[in-house]
Every structure is written in structure tokens, then in C-alpha cells.
Symmetry: C3
Subunit: 677 residues, 3 copies
């Protein structure tokens, strides 16, 4: 087969959703075609959960209904993203291969009846998915409706870890490959502690239930192993498809919403990056988390356009209180994705299911049918995407990088950390939200990658930072970069071992300090810092303080209460051509404003001064720019920009009023709408 394209063959921006017509009688399919056309749908994902329909008995395939479906779609000009059904093996599979079921850490075997999770380590499973993917590709590799392949679904969800017998065999083999010798493993895991030295590979078990906490380096490797098992299964399917088909292959990520997959590694294996995103209902500013996910998705995609494979038209069904989207909210969400690089806007799912676990999940066509508010907005959004088709292929450029490393997340999530109140996710969101509110567009970056093109690099949660990563950051500062590091960073190496020299030692040169001791605070306790650079201001803090040992850094704020009262809280260090900032206490989005204003000044970043609720991102096209504006506030906001709003058709020569809750996509000459504005 020839090399795959990096984008499915669909005209303009793609629009559609998961389509599972096997849940309805055939006559409903025709209604679906009519309404899809009305909504402007040009791409649907099919077959994702269809294994039991496609292979009702082991080795006996039934493709007739899929033939029919693909032909029907094609005849209506709708392209298909064809799923492989490996996420949900049929009942017969688990009956026949009970050892291919997942076992949890307490020894409970996960049975059939939900979404049929299989052990990704099981050879029986790998053989079965290869056979199924190959059969699909052989049959549909040339089908004119099929423009993309969608392997599996949300790897790692609902669960990734398997502690069963198949996994243990794979685990030992994986460790032998990683370490070569037991001495290597014993050293990496620090097994001298608590007397855990291994004398034979077969003595190594999975980190399942233990009487007290399990060796953390072992658990960190287990997280890597688990991710690797998933990726190996992806490759099995990818190769089986590629033998027969040349369309681009993807699998849908859940960036910053699921945690077991290292998307830097995954993104290398797909032809085009796709992502699912759902608002987190308890969060009234969930659209900020949405933007974070979108930027992270674009970043793992190397800045190239990506596919929003799933989001929801309104409420989901699996949260404690499933908040419906208000009128206009779906459009705002979709436009944020578009603005941050998505060239396909897709939903789960086309038609709401009457039965099953997700019947209360919203859909493009809800239970209330086509006369509903939701369907009217779906049709409207389809029109918008048609109007904005020329955005396709343009890219987002950022001056700021935020470090994001799944290995550090995994390590920080292990047990027995200094404080339960210090969490990767919270810190990542807080720093991101500060930048988002300031209108500063960011990329996410791995700490090992070349950072020289960024004016500012932010490390909100780099607990695990290898010596080589630290050296990379130090070089970045030396070369003139501005680095902002939050506390509890640069603590351990790749084996979760404390760095030689103590906490933060690998960044000693860049930051001009080390940390002698952590000073976490009791639950609910608060403190404050006095900022003294420029104006003197007091900022509230909580959760954490550090006992900082200065090694050249200048103190720009000190703790005025708390266990570290009188000690440095925030520092600034010039190193080489650049500057290294360190924040040694927990600051809120609001309190961080004072800090980042000073950091922006060092980095030469100008902020727009627009209202915080007016989200503005620029996509850079071949010749012109596209400014996407999303107004999350209730009041109209004025955006300085010149050009044409592709949605309304209005021309503006200096300022556009975006109504409360409204959106705009302005084609503008290069330079009149810059990054962040």
C-alpha cells in the first residue's frame, strides 16, 4: 500500500458524528440521510461497536448490513470514518477466551455486559483484532465512502490496567527488554529499600494489591507498560489495515481527560490526530478546560490541523449532574475547537440511543427529534462550518510553551506524596487558565523538545524531570529564553528517585536556587506572600511553601505567613541570556496575575487587554489570517480587527462587536490580527 494521506478526503471542514444505525430499523436510515443532508453532515464514524454484528460467531462474518450502510452513505455524499470494533469484543469472545478478560488490582475479573474491555496483553485478543481489522480493510479498503480508519475507541477508557495472568507474562518480558538484567531492574526500582531485591524474573509480579504501598518505580514502569500494551494493540490493527487500505488511520484521543496514554508517543503512530472532548459539568468555566484540551491535541499533532472526533451537542450522561448546554453554547464550544486547530467538528452521536448506558447522552438528533432546539442549532452550526470552509489547513502559532509530560503526571499521581493538595491536573489548569484569561495562546511541549522558538516556557507541574530535560531547559534559558517553574518540579528522575543534590538541583543553574525542604500546609490553611518587584502587593497563597536555598536568584516575593514565613516565595534568576522564574507556593489564577505580568515583561510578550471572557485565537493561513472570536460573557465585547466575518458576512474595518455569547470568524490580512488578538 502507498503511504497514507494526512487528512481524510472530505471537502471543506468536516462535520458529523458517530453513527450507529444498527440500533434502528432500516427505514430510520433513510430519515437519517435526509436530516444529515439538512444539517450539512459530510462525515460519519461507523462500526465502532459493531463486532458482534460483523462477526456474530467466531470466524463467521456478516458484512451485508455494512455494505448497505456504506453504499447508502456514499449515495448521499456522506463520507465514512470506518471504525474497527476492537473496543468491544462480543460475548462469544469472552466465553471462549476467559483469560482474555481484564483483572483488577484486587483480583476481580471484569465480566461482559458493559463495554467489553479485553486484556490488551492477551495473544487471543491480539489475534482476534488483527483478523477483524484485516477483514474490514480487505473488504472496504477500496470502498468510495471510506475516507478514514478509526481504530478502537478512546484507548485507556474505561480502564487501561490489567493485572491478570496474560498481563503478568507480558510484564516480565517487557521488563526484561527494558532492563536487560535484574541488576538493572533492581537499581532502577531501588529495591534495596524495604528489601525488595529480585533474584529471578519470574519472581516479579504485577503491582496489584499489597499490604502497604507498592514500590513507586515499579508502578511508574507499570504505567509505561500499560500504555505500551495499548499502543502495541493499535499497531497490530494499523498494520492489518495498511496491508489492504491507503486511507489515513487515526484513533480518538481524550487529551487531558483520560490519563493512561502518553499522547506524545501515540501521535507518532497515527496519520492524523483526533480527539474527543466533553465538558466537565461541575466546572462553570469548563470551556477553559476545553481550550486546554484543544491546544494539547494540536500540540501533540505537531501544530497540524486535527479532528475533533467527539464532543456533545448538549449534556452527557455519565457525570453526577449532566448539565445541558445552553442555547449558543454548542456553537461556542465548536468554534473554540476550530480556532485551536480542529478542521473537523464531530459529535457523539448522530441519533440519541433509546436503549443502553448512554441513552441520556445528547445527540445531533435528540429524542425530541428534528423540531428541537438542539437540532436547529446543529443545522446552524453546519452552515457556519460551510461558510468558514476556507479556514481549513491554516495553523495556530504560539509564543509560549507549557510543559506537559505524561510520565511526570503518572509519577506525581503515585502514593505518599508530600501533600494530597498538590496535583498535576490542578496546577496545569491553573497556569493554563491564567494564560487563557490573558489571551495568550500556548502550545504544549515535552520538556525534551527544542524550545528555542518560544519566548516563554512554563512548567506548572514537572515533578519528574530527567537530568537531560533539565539540561534542555537550562540551555533554553542560557539562550535567552524565559522559564517559569512552579514548585514541586525537578524532584525526581525517570525512576522516581530523588535527584542527587536534592530537590530542584537539576535546575539550580537556571533558577538560581535549590529547595532544602518542603513545607506543605494543613488542609484549609491559608497564607500570603508579599510581592516586592515594582509595586508592593500582597497575594494570598495556600497548600505549599518551600524552604528555598538561594544560589543566585533574586527574591521578588517572600512568605509573610505560614510555615515558611520570612522565607523566599517567588524568585527571579538571570542565567546566560535568559531568565528563570520560580514560584515556591500555591497561587490561584487570580494571584498569578501579578507574577505573570512580570514574566511577560521579561519574555517580551504583549497581552491584548481584551475582556477575559472574550476568547480570541488566530489561525495563520497561506496568505491571510483567520481570527476566531468566542464571547463567553453575557455582554457584547469589542474586538479590534479588520476584515470579514465569514459567519455573518459583515465587513469590519477596525473593530468588531461580538455579541454576548456570540462567535465570529474574521478573515483578515496578515498582521491585523496577531497572536492572541
Amino acid at each position: 500500500m502507498t503511504a497514507a494521506a494526512s487528512w481524510p478526503s472530505v471537502e471543506g471542514l468536516a462535520y458529523g458524528g458517530d453513527y450507529n444505525p444498527e440500533q434502528w430499523p432500516r427505514e430510520t436510515w433513510d430519515e437519517d440521510m435526509r436530516l444529515m443532508r439538512e444539517a450539512g453532515v459530510n462525515l460519519v464514524s461507523v462500526g465502532i461497536f459493531s463486532w458482534a454484528m460483523l462477526e456474530p460467531e467466531e470466524g463467521r462474518y456478516d458484512f451485508a448490513w455494512m455494505d448497505d450502510l456504506l453504499d447508502l452513505l456514499h449515495s448521499h455524499g456522506i463520507a465514512a470514518d470506518l471504525g474497527t470494533p476492537s473496543v468491544s469484543p462480543p460475548a462469544w469472545f469472552f466465553h471462549r477466551y476467559p483469560d482474555a478478560r481484564v483483572t483488577d488490582k484486587n483480583g476481580t475479573v471484569m465480566g461482559f455486559g458493559g463495554r467489553g474491555m479485553a486484556s490488551h496483553a492477551a495473544p487471543e485478543y491480539r489475534e482476534a483484532i488483527a483478523r477483524m481489522a484485516g477483514a474490514l480493510a480487505e473488504r472496504y479498503g477500496e470502498h468510495p465512502a471510506v475516507v478514514m480508519w478509526h481504530i478502537h475507541n478512546e484507548y485507556g477508557v474505561p480502564i487501561a490496567e490489567d493485572f491478570g495472568p496474560r498481563a503478568v507474562v507480558s510484564w516480565r518480558r517487557w521488563l526484561e527488554e527494558r532492563y536487560g538484567t535484574l541488576d538493572g531492574l533492581n537499581a532502577a526500582w531501588g529495591t534495596a529499600f524495604w528489601g525488595q531485591r529480585y533474584g529471578a524474573w519470574e519472581h516479579v509480579v504485577a503491582p496489584a494489591a499489597t499490604a502497604t504501598i507498592t514500590n513507586p518505580a515499579m508502578k511508574l514502569d507499570w504505567a509505561r507498560f500499560t500504555d505500551d500494551q495499548l499502543r502495541e494493540c493499535y499497531v497490530v490493527e494499523r498494520d492489518a489495515i495498511r496491508a489492504h487500505a491507503s486511507q489515513p488511520i487515526t484513533t480518538n484521543f481524550m487529551a487531558h481527560q483520560a490519563w493512561n496514554t502518553d499522547l506524545w508517543k501515540w501521535a507518532e503512530l497515527v496519520d492524523v490526530v483526533s480527539d474527543d472532548h466533553y465538558l466537565w459539568s461541575p466546572d462553570p468555566d469548563a470551556h477553559v478546560g476545553l481550550a486546554l484540551s484543544a491546544d494539547l491535541t494540536r500540540s501533540v499533532a505537531g501544530g497540524k490541523p486535527w479532528i475533533l472526533m467527539e464532543h456533545s451537542t448538549s449534556a452527557v450522561n455519565w457525570q453526577g449532574r449532566n448539565i445541558a448546554k445552553r442555547p449558543g453554547e454548542m456553537r461556542r464550544n465548536a468554534l473554540t475547537h476550530l480556532g485551536r486547530g480542529a478542521d473537523a467538528i464531530m459529535f457523539f452521536q448522530w441519533r440519541a440511543s433509546r436503549s443502553g448506558a448512554e441513552k441520556f447522552h445528547s445527540a445531533m438528533l435528540p429524542h425530541a427529534g428534528e423540531s428541537s432546539r438542539v437540532f436547529r442549532e446543529v443545522v446552524e452550526l453546519g452552515g457556519h462550518l460551510k461558510d468558514a470552509a476556507e479556514v481549513r489547513g491554516s495553523e495556530v502559532e504560539a509564543e509560549v510553551a507549557v510543559l506537559y509530560d505524561w510520565e511526570s503526571l503518572w509519577a506525581q499521581d503515585l502514593e505518599w506524596r508530600p501533600s494530597d493538595d498538590v496535583q498535576f491536573r490542578e496546577r496545569m489548569r491553573t497556569f493554563y487558565e491564567r494564560l487563557w484569561r490573558d489571551g495568550v495562546t500556548v502550545d504544549f511541549a515535552h520538556p525534551d523538545q527544542d524550545l528555542s522558538r518560544y519566548k516563554l516556557v512554563v512548567a506548572p507541574a514537572s515533578y519528574l524531570l530527567t537530568a537531560s530535560s533539565a539540561a534542555n531547559l537550562t540551555r533554553y534559558v542560557e539562550g535567552g529564553g524565559t522559564l517559569l517553574v512552579n514548585f514541586f518540579s525537578a524532584i525526581v528522575n525517570e525512576n522516581d528517585a530523588v535527584h542527587e543534590g536534592g530537590f530542584v538541583a537539576p535546575l539550580r543553574d537556571a533558577l538560581g536556587l535549590t529547595v532544602e525542604e518542603f513545607l506543605p500546609m494543613r488542609e484549609g490553611d491559608t497564607a500570603a506572600v508579599r510581592w516586592t518587584r515594582g509595586a508592593e502587593v500582597e497575594l494570598p497563597s495556600d497548600v505549599w511553601q518551600d524552604d528555598i536555598v538561594l544560589a543566585g536568584a533574586e527574591v521578588v516575593a517572600e512568605n509573610i505567613s505560614g510555615p515558611g514565613a520570612g522565607k523566599p516565595a517567588i524568585t527571579r534568576n538571570t542565567h546566560g541570556e535568559g531568565v528563570g522564574w520560580y514560584v515556591g507556593t500555591k497561587l490561584s489564577v487570580e494571584a498569578l496575575r501579578t507574577v505573570v505580568d512580570a514574566v511577560y515583561a521579561d519574555a517580551g510578550i504583549e497581552v491584548s487587554g481584551l475582556p477575559e471572557d472574550l476568547e480570541v485565537v488566530t489561525r495563520r493561513g497561506a496568505a491571510e489570517d483567520f481570527v476566531i472570536a468566542v464571547n463567553h460573557g453575557d455582554d457584547a465585547a469589542r474586538l479590534p480587527v479588520a476584515g470579514k466575518d465569514l459567519l455573518s458576512g459583515a465587513e469590519t474595518d477596525g473593530e468588531l462587536e461580538v455579541p454576548g455569547g456570540g462567535v465570529a470568524v474574521i478573515r483578515t490580512s496578515r498582521g491585523t490580527g496577531g497572536d492572541g488578538v
Copy 2:
């Protein structure tokens, strides 16, 4: 054997409790007889946990002590309700038949040492209980002390579900009987969703641990199956007894306190309904829940007198904080049961156990002995019941029915509902409490039953409402009835599938609306509605709003804040000769007052205007009525009634003062004390 009587042969009202003398030396039994006589006890339940005493080894019976006990009781004029001990098989049983133990959904096997729960699906268990029940009936079927049979104890408590191997075999057979074909099962369960289609019966497993949530229709059937297994075991014992004995047979329910048994079905199988009830300590108004349970018990009994088989003289022992009853509280509780149809007032248990799990449970004879407050009140209550003996056989009549369907409860309790804050139990209690505070006596009704005799039907929580039930309700309205429906009703059919036409569609005619979308609110958020029928008033609301699509209904209140601000909140619809009300947001007991006042007016229901804490119920005798008054308040209350208080002997010719905390049972001429007064 001849058909059983519907009431045990005891004179007057029955009074007594569980009696487990095997826990004490023989000399204590004589003291028990003396004190029972002093207290007016005329009925005790014996043998409920006595299997290990009656059959110390498999097949070897020891009836000597039971012979002795029954003779002793009889010689003191105390009747026996003879239990079968099937709730607690002996240690030897589980040692011999380990597969007859219960397995939980995570695969943990429940061992011996608590209350020896057995797998109700296990043939070994069914054979053993049939043998034991038969042996008891053969020996004691003619014993003059034995006036009733008490099978098992609180079916479904402490656990009902069993996921073990015996259950899985039964489950497949049960499904085959229910559905006939796999196509039927696949359709009912909607297995097309998430690829769960079954191709063979033996592929179906129990809905035990799965990686994510399990098919809800499967789980709903599992609840039905579980209940059916319990009922099959009951029938096994009943038939074994009936072969040798003619006394009425019962088993003690736990109406609205245990949830695995569909009491509409159970009530058909017993000769007389009996119920256990315990106050829920955290609830300062637990007596309202007590009244609810009593009305529900009477309702499943078809309005006929029933047996309060267990309640407590004071604190229980299994709650977090076991609140002792205050002086007079036991009497109030007992009189509420009497007022709502109980002709037998029994306790768990006669004498407090010194050992074991329930030694801190109160008893008629507490650890402190006969010189205690509790025993004095027990003696006093015995006297009251003797004085009120003529109440026996009278019945309660109600103008209002509240819909109560265990299948709907089971379905609503499944996972992934729109909001965790919407609960069957809370809604049932809130609507009931509104009616209770208004002095409106209610029956509970199944939504399929003939409702035409009621002026008002209330549906607080009818999430699962079949098309035929909905048609029944619609006919009820057409015929002139008043129907009050709370939100999240008429959502799914018997397979937990969303109704065609969308939410509330089956009640579209009766209510004059459907619901396009649910608008649940974030945890803790509040809103309000503006009521505009008659006076304009603002009512607080929370948790839920609906996006209502009117189809003829009149809006009587709209949301003035929250996600549905400006939309209809409460509606009224005339249909045929009747009226259908709909409440589309969550209102408290207090806020509901405005609504029900208008509803009462439509239904022609007059409320008494008595103080809310003065509980008044009328039992209709053959010639005269009995007004039972229970004053839960601290202040005396005046009750307009003429007649004689059977407890105090006082005659009243128009108004009776019931002291704070006091009670009265007034014999009155028909009509001077009506329903609700």
C-alpha cells in the same frame, strides 16, 4: 389442607414480639411468661433463627425444646407465630454446600458468621428449606399455640443479589423463560448499543463487575430475577407448610425500608400481610416515614388489616447514631400503625439479647429489666390495645392515591441518570409528607390498577411508566380524575428504553406537554419559580428544570432563574373530564403547598386545617368510625370530633384536646370524623 384464614386466631388486637428464649436458661422462660402476661402480650414470634437448634446436624432434628416452648406459651394463653428458620442456615449447611453461599458482584464469597445468607438459587438450599419447613409443619400444624406461620425473615435483607454460579444457572433459565428467543432478549436489552449482542444463552453472565457500567436493561431484569428467586423460595416453604397446616402464612415485609422486593407481587402470596418498620434516626420527622410505610403496607394488603410484625420500643442498633425513643414516642408510633390499619402491634424483640450483633437493640424487656421506663410503657401500651380492641377489622379509606412501583424504583436507581440529586425515595417522601402535613390520608397504588375511585392521583417518581400504565392514567384523567405528575416521570418503558416520541410522550394527552430536554442544575445551585394562578407567589426550587414543550397545557408557574429561566415550570391541563398537573422542577415540602392547594381544589379535596403535627386517621368500622389522633407536637391540639376516647374513657361532644405528645382513639358515629379528620 383447607384454605387458610386471613388472620391469626388471636383475640382483640395482637400484641407481642419476637421471642428467642433459646438465648436464656430455662428459668428465665418462666419470668418471661409472668412479664408477658403483665404486659398483655398475646402473640409472639418464635423460631425465626433456630435452624441450628432444630437441626443440629443434617437430617437430625431436635424438637424437644420447641415442644416445651410452645406448650409453655399455650399454658399461659399466649399464641405463637411460628417461624421457619430459612434465613439462617446452620454452619454445617455452608460447610457441606459451599456453592450455596452468596457471591457479591466483585466475586467475594459471603461466609458464615453473620446472618447466614444463602443463595436463593441454589437447589441445595431450596431442598433444605422445604425439608425444614415441612418438618415443622408436620410437627406443629395442629399445635394449639400455633396461630400463624412466619416464613423466613425480611426477604432481601441484608442482601438479595447473588452473583455466584448457582445464580447464573438460574438467571439463564429465567431469561429463556422470559424472552423465549435470543432475538427477544437482544431487542429488550438494546444490545445493539456498545456491541453487546448475544448469540447463545450460555454467553449471558450475571451483571457482576464490569469495566464500565453494565447494560441497564440487563440490570433491571436482574432486579426482577433476584426478587423472583426470593419469591420462589417463599413458595417452596409455603407449599411445604400448607401440606400439613392450615393457619395463615405470612412473611415480614420492610415496606419502603428495603428495596429488593416488589410487594405488589409478594402480597398476593401471603395470607396476611405483615411488615417491619424502624425509625430512621437522622430524620427528626421519622414518624412521617413511618406513616408512609404503614400506608404502603396497608395498600399492598389491599386495604385489609395487617400485622406490624416488628418495630422497636426505643433505639435500634444498626444505625450510625441509634436514637432512643423519648417517653411517649413508642406509643405514638404504635398508634400511627394502628391508625393506618395495623391490627397487631409487635416488636423486635421481647427480651434484649446479652450477646451478638443486636445486643444494643432495644426490647420490650430491656437490659435494665422490668423496673425500666421502657417496660412500664410496654405495659401501658398493652393496656391501650386492650382498651381499643374494638378497632380490629375496621379499614382506612382514602381519596388520594400515590403511585408506587418497585420496577420504577429499580430502574431509577440504575447508574448514569441525568442527576444524582433526583431520587425515587426523596421525591416519594417529599410528596407524601406534603399530603401528610395537610392531613390527607392516601393509599399507594400501582400505575396499572384501577384508579377511578380516587379523587386525586399523585405520581412523585414514575420514571419507568409503561405505555399501558400511561394509558391507564390518561383514561383516569379523561374520566374526571385529577393527576399530579412530578418531573422525570414517563421517561422509559419496561426495558428502560426511552419512550418513542421522547420524554413524557406517553402522558402527552393527559398533561398537555412533552419535555424536550432535561435541565439539571449544578450541585447546590438554587432557583425559583413564579406561581401565577390566583395570587402571584415566588417559590424556591433546585436540582432540576425541564425544557417543556407545551401541547395544550396552561402555564401556572414559570422558572424565574436557573437554566430554564423564562420557561414553564408548572402546568395544568384539562383533558376529558379531568385535569393533569405537571411539576417540572424540584420543590420542597413547603414549596409544594402552593401547588397542592390548587390541585386539591381541582380534585374536590377538603383539608382539615388542623395543626400539621397533629396526625389524624380514621378507620371505618362496620357501624362506627374510629378516629386515631397522634399529636407529634409539644403543644396540646384541639380536634373537632364527637365520641368516646377508648384510651382515656373520656366522652367528647365536639372537640377533643390531645395533649402535646399524646394520643387518642375516639369511637365516633359515621361522618363526624371523616377521612383526614
Copy 3:
């Protein structure tokens, strides 16, 4: 071997910590020696987790590194407390003997990877630890560095209970030995309740998962059995060592921080008592809990000096928020231990581990190295201990005993108690803290022991109090003692059976009352009592009230609100020559002040009147006393004392000013610093 000494052969006060050099390269060991000398370290614990190093394969020993280590220590004048590694069997052990793993109550088997907990009932384990301990003793019994043996580590931590097959076999044997006959067992467990009668020993299972709660007497015996299993394993090792070595043998307790070991029994088996203690971070007054643990440790040691085997220089790592000690806090903690009888001050651990589960646990030598605050304070503390060496061997004398019985704790912790808010630990801490704040030094005592030497005996939580213990307390009062008993005491006997005669009946004579009924309060409810002895004062109360039946006692306070309003709350009874006080409601540390002031007056106890935060304890030497003062407050405090502060060298002739946060050890003539002052 000759009988062991009762103290390790170390000069002066011992100082040091756990030393696990196998985690570092050999060159680090030399640095360790240098720094230990600098810090004044004279004793280290080695080998505690070294099984996998000492016996890398079953039966093949590697002692070379331990030879090297002990020689190195000896050459630097540092003594060794040589551990047996039985707490952490190697991976090969569990691979070879899978049935020697621990099973939890739900059937989950605890695997390798944490701290390798083994089944203490497993014969394979017992053989292996005997062999290993014997091999160590044979090789090092004569080594000049070895001055003590340290068996295992913190028995019962992380878990004590094992429900696996090996344990069940032992359990049946243990029960047969305890009860002789099944009739005995059935009577003790009250198996007549809930039909639990056993007809054969092999029918008895472990109290693992059951459908509802398990027989409480069975569970209480299970706690005794579990403790006995641990103790049997200790004896196996002790005997194996004693065959070859004569140094004192210990195992490190966790008094009042771990709960599965009855330290009254354990203390009889060790040559010298040692204890580990860690501050509980959420408690801002954790130093009070520290003092409690120290007093309890000294008490189980029979008043003799003991070893603080582990505490921390700063934060631990296993709590939710691991609070670092502030400057001076480590010294205060160490001095409190010293003041309350510890003649050895040791830490976990010498050098912070770079890897593993406890890398964030502080150490004498932290990650930041020797230039850190912590190491400086370690060096300072070493100097203090050298200066105060003459304190060694002196003893603490107390006029007050607090009853502490692990069996009562175990029984009270069982399920289904009257109120979840009544907890052994809370009541023990509250009463202890009252006495601590009053400067009253206490011993802890078992309720069976001779109490006649105490002026006051306090029973904060004697739920289980045998008839003979109650008789002992009654004799104590008769003989002139003052007894203060908190509610929910003297409720059950050794089988968790309610005493004949009802609650508190065994103390009826001593207290002049019984309790007819418990009146626990709803969560969060509060009440008050009116105290009327001397001044009239109102004290807040909550959680609990009693329905007291007076039998001679005088009411000194009554409840003025709550369920027991108007009833006695606090009583005083003269019996024989003494006085019995009873507190029938839950009072706080502050509210108890009024009560204990009156009790002190009865008992003839004078309180110092010093500031509550100034902790003062006196150790009585052969000729002189040593007053140890620890100022937990921020302000300086004046202590009336004459003598020489061994730490500062200052002489004082009547009053010493102890700075805020400071400490002092004053050698004083007998009588000038008395008990509590």
C-alpha cells in the same frame, strides 16, 4: 545462653537511627561514619529490611556486606541494634510459598512489591524466620558492635489480620485451646443469637466477608488470635536468637498509633521496651498525642527506661499532608520522650532514601545534605543528649493512672455500637489532654492491676470491663481511691456480652448508679449541662447522654438540654474510703476542666498552675531529680525550680525562664521539683 541484660551496652543516652547503607555505594558509608560521629550517634539499627540481601536464594546466605558494616561501625565506636528481617521476606519466598501470603477479608491476596507482609500463621514463614534469626545470631552473637537485637518491625503494621487458609487452620486450633469444647465456644460467642451454633470445629471459619455484620464475640476473639499469632512469631525469633546470643532483645512498638497488639502482653516478652512514634499532622497539638504515647510506652515497660526506636527529624511521607517540623520542634519532641522515660532517642532514618516508598520521609541526613537546617539540629540534639547523660536510669513517678486496655479498644471498635461518635481513641486523648494541660503526670494501667498506689484512677473508655476488673476498681475506691469513669464504660464482659444487671452494673457500688438506657444524640447536635457543685456553671456537651438510675450517687451536674434534659449528667459517689465519679455525657478538654478540678480536690492532687503549653515532667534519679521542661508556646514561661540546666549549664535558684519553643533539663534536689512541676 545467660539471661539478657535489660539495656543495651551503650554509654550515656543512646542516639541514632535506622541505618540502611545497602541503598548506597560503599564510599557513602565512610561519609556516614564521619557525619554520625559529628552528630554524636552511638547506636544504629541495621538489617531490618535486609532479608533479600542476606539470603538472596533460599538457603544461600551472604553475610559479607553485614560483616563489613558491623566492623565499620565498631571501628567508629558506634554500636549496632541488629534487626531480623522477618518483616520483609524476599520475592523468592512468596514465589515459592504462595500460601504464606496474606489474604484480606474480601479474599484478595496481598502480593509482593510493598513491604512483604507474610501470613504469621504459615508454618513455612515460621520456619524461615527461625532459620534466618538463628543464622544471624550464630554469626553475630559475639560481634562486639552488636549490643541489641531488633526483631521484626512494628508488628501489626501495615496489616495484622490474615484470612487465608493458613490462618483458618491456626484459628480453629487456637479456639479449641481456648474453649476446650464447642459448648464453651457457643456460650462465649452467644451463638444462639441469629442461629450461629457450631456443631463441629471444622465448621468455624474466619470472620471474613459476611452478608451482614459478623458475630462480635467471634471478632473480638479474632483480634486476640491475630495478636497471639504475631506474638508467637516473635517468640520463634527470640528463642532462635537466644540460643546463640545474650544481648537484650526488643521489638519496636507503636503505642497508641497502631492497634492490633496488646502491649501489656508484648512487654512481658521483650528485654527492653522500644517504641516508634510519629506526629499526626492534622493535629496542631500532636505533641500531646506524643506525650500520651510516651507515657503509655513507659507504663507497659513497668516504669523502666525505654527506647524511642523511631521518630522523625521533620515530616513523614505517608500522611495526607506531611507537615515539616519547625525549627526547634524536633528538639522539643525528643525532650518530651526523654522526660517521659526514654533513655534512647532514635530516628527513622539516618540518611534519606533516594528511591522507594519513603523517599519523602525526613531523615537525620536529608536529601539536602549536611549543610541543612535539619542536620544542624540533629548535631545540636546529639550534644544535648551528651550533656544530659546523667538522666539515664532515672524514673518517672505518677499519682494518677489512666486505664488502657487493648481488649476494650478492640471491642469498642466493633460494628453496631450505639453511636459512631463515641470512640476509644478520642475519649482517651481528651481525658489525657485535660490531665496534660493541668501538668498532671500519669501512668497508664490495666484495669486488673494493683492501683492502690495512685491517688486517682481515670477510665475514659472502659467499654469492656470484666467483672473481676470492676471488682478491682471497686476495691480501689473502697480503699480510699478516687475513680473517674466516663460514660459507655463497664458495658460488656470479656465476650462482648452485656453485663447482667445492665449497663454499668459491675461498678454500681463504686459509682452509686447504673444506666438504664443510652441517649446518643444526632450528628452535630449539641447540648449543655449545669454544674452545681461549688459554683454553678454551664458546660457544653454533645454526642451522648445517659438515662442514669441513681443508687446512692449525688448529682453534681444535670443535662439542661438534649434527650436527657433534666436527668443527671455528672455524679459523685462516696464508697468506702473513696469516691467514684461518673461523667454521663461527652465533654471537651475545656469543659472537663470544671469536672477534674473537683476530682483533683477529692484525690488530693495539686496542680501546678503553670501555663498549659509548658510541659514539665520530673524523672526521679537515685539521688537527685531531673525536671524536663518543654515550652510548646511562643512566649517565654517561668518555671519555679532550683538547680542546673544541663543543656545550657545555667544555674537557677528559684525560677527558670524557658524561652518560647525552648527546652531545659534541670538537675534539682529531691523535692524542689515535684511530680507535675
